[in-house]
Symmetry: C3
Subunit: 134 residues, 3 copies
């Protein structure tokens, strides 16, 4: 169920983009114990200048390699679980040479009943899918 | 008020995209009884490979025609109402030859006061617009 | 922390887009008293026809200059604060010749702990950043 929007500047190859997405998914799999095929990403490339991502006052500079990640998923997980996820995402992206400075994450919660994976059915409500533990 | 983000792969004509959007809007009109002109969609086309949408373990395959739908609207509607909406969207898209396998929906709730339709005014709070019944 | 998605039709220059983004950010700075560098925007240009934005029944017409703004930020601010923000955004955009009819805003709330500005850390939780007052 997480739906992940990933926004980046133009400049990566298709294979690099695919690895970026895969790295984020692997972090979610490892931390949230969701099914392997619970994989829903929307990646959008932007011309330079259309992503603005400063440092919120933390005192660092980002590069054009910045990766803007927005995660939509069911609520209920603990703050600690979210923080583990954020760290795992940064770790996986570090393996792909994305600097810690370039990993921005926002998280938005909804409910299991807010998802339909196909056929207009809400599979967490119908029981076709088990709701992931929180 | 629903703001609907629709993400698809490149490959449909402008007319097909317009019908897709219209079908989703017609489903919302029919199910939620909102005003006809309460129509706010943002459609984005993507190069192949930039939308990842597996099956969450349900056991089916999607096609490149997959339609990723994200609905932002006021909270308060019942689970049954949401499920009717999901089904209606899939039904309308089926009429446009979008397979049930290719309809992904995520739903995010906010409040009526979280919307401004123009002029920097929150028209559901000022009373310029009636808040849709839930 | 606000993450702002801005969707517009093709047709503005890079400089015009940059001023649009800056105007929205200046409104947020003025109204929410966040740090100057708490600036996170994702701007996406669309071919004509891929943004649908009618009037919700209010009785006006939009132009192709329409600016779709979606603000993701921590919950807890008052309705009055949000309405001041909406008005300030419209005022700033008016200075850039964006008509009031063309300013659409949706607002989605999460929590301070739902953000990571870099390094996989949740800086509002670790204390590296002060949570903006509400």
């Amino acid at each position: 169920m997480p739906l992940v929007r990933i926004d980046v500047n133009h400049g990566r190859t298709a294979e690099q983009l695919q690895r970026l997405s895969r790295g984020i998914h692997d972090a979610i799999l490892a931390e949230y114990a969701i099914p392997e095929r619970d994989y829903f990403h929307i990646l959008t490339e932007h011309p330079q200048g259309q992503i603005v991502a400063q440092d919120a006052g933390l005192g660092f500079e980002r590069t054009p390699d910045v990766v803007m990640i927005q995660i939509f998923t069911q609520g209920g997980r603990s703050q600690a679980a979210k923080q583990s996820l954020f760290a795992a995402i940064a770790d996986r992206l570090a393996e792909l040479d994305v600097a810690g400075e370039d990993v921005f994450i926002g998280y938005v919660e909804n409910a299991a009943g807010d998802w339909s994976f196909g056929f207009g059915r809400a599979q967490y409500v119908t029981g076709e899918l088990a709701v992931p533990r929180k």
